[in-house]
């Protein structure tokens, strides 16, 4: 596998791992409080819907001319990646609360318990709806990344493989610990994914707009490193500023 293929698999794997951890927390909270029957059905339905989406949209994306695809996908990845990066910088600098799977699990479980209990033999609409939404919405971001990265590299199956490997890894660990995966460095992973999406978005967007990078493909690692250094530097400056404001306020 060349460097591009590794980057494709790594990006899909990391993004999928982050989203799977979040979906796992919701499913665990619903399953433990409302029962597993409707919850498992919802997970299966959501995964099927996501797979259908990849199979339906994937082939049509690869039929689009490469420059048009690079411009559209580059622009979308950039917008999407900047969202991830912005949130990651705000979390790393203390301006936004860190993602806490234990707290999210407690909140989801409390909400699920507050609903009237369902007949154990009957279909639990509440559990199904909550688990389906959790898995489908978290999975949608992964599908977006798999489709866009895969289409540009001409290998949606390779991107899907990276995403599937992350789902399996998270589920195996989740099954072993049977608790919210709070020790997964989720915020660091999100920071990394944000840097990768933004960097690939910049690279493909500019190429799609018709311009060429100095050094062609060699420009990509430079863009990734520059984006990472600027983002970490910005988070560090903002963290110091936040601490200073707190000292002055107290």
């Amino acid at each position: 596998m060349n460097a591009g293929a590794w980057a494709l698999v790594l990006s899909s794997f990391l993004a999928s791992a982050v989203e799977t951890v979040e979906a796992f927390t919701i499913v665990l909270a619903v399953g433990l409080t409302r029962g597993w029957r409707s919850t498992v059905l919802a997970v299966a339905a959501a995964l099927t819907a996501l797979a259908v989406l990849v199979i339906a949209v994937g082939p049509s994306l690869t039929a689009i001319p490469l420059n048009v695809l690079r411009l559209a996908v580059g622009g979308l990845l950039l917008v999407f990646g900047l969202q991830w990066l912005r949130k990651a910088i705000l979390r790393a600098s203390g301006y936004k609360a860190l993602h806490d799977e234990v707290a999210i699990f407690a909140r989801e479980a409390a909400e699920a318990r507050a609903e009237p209990p369902a007949d154990p033999r009957a279909f639990d609409h509440y559990a199904f709806s909550l688990a389906f939404k959790g898995v489908f919405l978290e999975g949608l971001e992964v599908v977006f990344i798999v489709l866009t990265f895969g289409a540009i590299h001409g290998s949606i199956p390779l991107a899907a493989l990276g995403a599937a490997a992350a789902v399996v890894a998270v589920l195996v660990v989740g099954f072993i610990v049977r608790a919210p995966l709070s020790r997964v460095p989720e915020n660091t992973l999100k920071f990394t994914v944000g840097v990768l999406l933004t960097s690939f978005g910049i690279f493909w967007g500019v190429e799609g707009a018709g311009a060429s990078w100095p050094g062609n493909d060699a420009a990509l690692p430079v863009i990734i490193v520059t984006t990472a250094v600027l983002s970490v530097g910005t988070a560090s400056v903002m963290r110091q500023r936040k601490a200073l404001v707190q000292v002055v306020a107290s």
């Binding site: 950039l78 999407f80 900047l82 969202q83 910049i202 967007g205 707009a209 500023r241 404001v245």
Partner: protein, 70 residues
């Protein structure tokens, strides 16, 4: 009607997210790059500059808001 509205709210939140200014910066950067290319000028640096400005602007707004509420 509320379902259609809900779908568009979801779509906006999914694609554009918390700050539309970053989306505007990306679109402007790509449009200027394409315009430059159509006139024979290689403006590969425009998008990175607009990305830094768009993200920077968005972060500065958060910092200012936080300072005002402190």
């Amino acid at each position: 009607m509320s379902k259609i509205r809900g779908f568009f709210v979801f779509l906006y939140d999914f694609v554009i997210g918390d700050d539309w200014r970053m989306t505007v910066a990306v679109i402007a950067g790509l449009a200027l790059t394409a315009l430059g290319v159509s006139r024979g000028i290689m403006l590969w640096g425009i998008v990175p500059v607009f990305v830094v400005l768009g993200l920077g602007w968005s972060l500065v707004r958060v910092v200012r808001r936080d300072r005002a509420s402190a």
